[in-house]
Amino acid sequence: MQKKPPRHALNMLRWYCREDFLDEIEGNLIELFNRQANQNYNMACWWFVLQVLLHFRPDFVKAPSFIRNLSNSHIMLRNYLKIAIRNLRRTPSFTIIHIAGLTIGITASLLIFQYIHFEKNFDTFHELADRIYRVPITYSEGFGSFPKTASNHPGLGPAMLQDFPEVESFVRMVHPSNFGGTLTLRAQNESGQLISFTEEAGYLADSTFFDIFTFPLLEGNPQTALDDPSGIVITKNIAEKYFGTPYAVGKEIQTNFAGDKKLSVSAVVNDLPPNSHIDFEILIPFHSFFAQMSRENLWVWPEFHTYVLLKPGATPTNIEAEFPAFTDRYMAKIHEDHDFMTYFSMQPLLDIHLINDFANEITPPGSRRMITFLSILAIFILAIAYLNYINLSTSKSRERANEVGIRKTLGARKQQLVTQFLTEAAILNFTCVILGFILAVILLPQFQLLVGKDIGNSLLNSGIIFTGEFWILFVACIITGSIFSGLYPAFVLSAFQPVQVIRGNLEGGRQQFSLRKILVGIQFSVSILLIAATLLISRQIMYMNKQDLGYSKDQIMVVKAPIARDSITYMKTLRLPAELKKLPFIHSFTKSSEVPGRLIPLRSNSRQWGQANDMNVLNYLYRVDNAFLDLYEIPMLAGRNFREIDSSGIYGAPNNRVVINDVLAKSLGYTTPEEALGQFIEFKLGQPYHKAEVIGVAENIHQRSLKEAYDPLLFYYPSWSNWRYYSVKLETPDLAGAISRMEDVYKSVFEEASFEYFFLDEHFDEQYRAERRFSRVCKVMAGLAIFITFLGLVGLSALIISHRTRELGIRKILGAGNYQILTLVSREFLILLAVSGLVTIPVIFYFGKKWLENFAFNNGLGWQIIIVPVFLLVIIILSTIGIQMHRSNAGDPVEALREQ
């Protein structure tokens, strides 16, 4: 009986082997197999398998089935691909222009997409995110125009838990500054040294914090981390700073809070996700403190960020409807006493970052304007890139006309031609999307610097590429891009009538020029807009920098004052200024509660003495000593500065002499500064109103950036104060030496506190960070837009010149000069540019005005904003065309005419 070779091996051979070789190979193998099988069947089987594998080589393997099974349309598609690639290679300069333009556009929009994605996905990492709400406060009109605040009263959380069945849990966070000072931590580092820092991002929080929020813990149990009143939760960052190791659970930290209590680290939090609106380094359990808090404070202290967790399935609508009654229950008396109303609302956690105009935020909220602006930029740049493609491929149609004519004569249908040109567009788009993606990954760090935000490590790490959104964008980019950029050229090209083409008559293509003009016009307009925006922003920033702020900010160094916690440290705070003043390079010295450069947190109401409650106006309280106005060189409009005797010398004594600034004087109802002199006003300091005499009216100063109007300021000179800042005017060429001398003095008085300082001009400048960022982004994007437009111009002008070589040559012979020819060719573009300029003027003016409205002090629009972009584009157009003409020898009639 004949023995069979192994079936699977045989099937495999039959599967891969080319039909025309199969007879020979299979036959030979089986013959040899049979010979061996008679002796040793198993060996023969192994041999056969080995032989089948040995024959698996390119010489014998048939082509993959998808190629073999190609039907005619597939073959045509393959042909399209081939033709497309040949076409792209035939005109490499055009291909490069296409690819460069589109790739830039796609890269920019991918990066912007990632930014928007990041901004729109704030706080999504909390497992219970959709059930967490924050309760902010809005005040009734007229209550000293208090802003809406993100934080709420300490009594709110417990009351809500008690009154609303929907509420499962709540957590309050409060910044230690509300308890009279900054938070300072002390600990022994690994080498046994006592180190101490002042920490900004510390919060006192309820023990429910980790039940509601999901932050990754490196060490410790989230359920119990904040239960022990003597525990403290720190981030990895802080642990490394104090202990040199992230694993710090059980180590001791001393705080200046709760009576210099020793706390032990109960948990270490891993790095916070960058998309968290709650940004903390330290959490101190506060529930024991809350319990002791006096009941009067419960509803008059809106500094507690309060988040509530709703039960699964519960909606906030019910609670919001109940809020008026709820507010009445707890705050009726307060409302009545002070004649105002508060309104609570339920703000979803996921809305906090973007839908937000509250004061007192934990982190600055995202800017919806920035998102809109960036989206528009992305669309603009992508549009310019696609318009380039449309323009160039339709203009190139003359070169392709013969091909189309012959294809049509040979029987190609219009639809087939359209498919062919779309294939070309698709290849190009696909290449560009891939390139753009790679570039986006590479350029992400630069982009993050540009927008000044850490938006996740990279496109890959951030997990964006795993989201459906991303792939939809990706595929949509290719498909719509191909269709958008390929469809019109495809129809124009396929519309040629073969007979006319072959006769050399291309009049059918005349119509496209009007569309081309529109497209070029759009490109010009977008470029003008972007350049104008860049100019507008940098002009405004320049203006704000040059503006006189009403005080001097040069050579002023500000030292953060240590906090007086007890009588010993209080004595030290008295000694420190005296010691500092002795230094020779210190020109002058002043103590104050605030320095220019930020919104003053201490708000108050004031009115003329004896007026009713409803005459209250808002003012900001500025505690200063008698040197402050002099050091900052704030001029007096009327009256005098404080003198030593104006502070009464006893803590708690009424502050009966004040200096107000001009806007406050006006809003109090005094028409001239002189009128206010010697008048009595009352202002609120803590609970009671104080009666005080106005001894001077100071000129207005820009306490905050020039975005804001002048703040109404009330200066008073208390005898005893927790001064927060010592301002020092330096007079020395050796700044570093001066700083280290001051540090020595500081340490000699306060050995345990850290010496912290900043320079006033830098501090003030911080406020313009957003504008600077805006300006940087604008500059880069405008640069890209100009570049892409420029690429398009290069391509178009090259084409136009090559079409008109003969004409230009003849003109040259008849006596036209280089200059005339340049005007002739560029006239079309210049007219378009003029039209674009006219069209964009109203747009620039409208949006420019709107943007400038954000600045209380602005520079106006200025003629440069419209002239400069147009002028810039004129230069670009003329130089591009000039260079192209020079390169293509358009000016040389002999060459030009010989060519044809």
Partner: protein, 108 residues
């Protein structure tokens, strides 16, 4: 055709095809070479070489009849072409002339 080269194993197979004139097919070539060279030869190598030489035009092929021992597959017979023969002759001439150039060497 241009100057085609002939590798060592190719030359052996071509010689065998020529020797078994009109009766040469994969297995017979393998058997023949194994007997003359006294070493194992892999059939896949022979297949590769045959295809390659057919492409180069050294051999031609034709199909034979179906036999039972081959699982119903036809034999493919190879025969040397004039071009292939010329190639062999050239190769032979070169070798003999080179061999003739060897001086007498006494190895003993």
């Amino acid at each position: 055709m241009k100057n085609e080269s002939l590798g060592e194993f190719e030359e052996l197979v071509l010689l065998m095809v020529a020797a078994q004139h009109d009766e040469a097919y994969g297995v017979s070539i393998k058997d023949g070479l194994e007997t003359s060279l006294d070493r194992d030869i892999n059939i896949s190598a022979i297949h590769v070489v045959l295809k390659r030489m057919e492409k180069k035009g050294f051999v031609q092929s034709r199909y034979g009849g179906i036999t039972q021992e081959r699982g119903g597959r036809r034999k493919k017979y190879y025969v040397i072409t004039a071009y292939g023969k010329k190639m062999l002759d050239q190769q032979y001439a070169i070798r003999t002339s080179l061999y003739g150039n060897i001086p007498r060497i006494n190895f003993s």
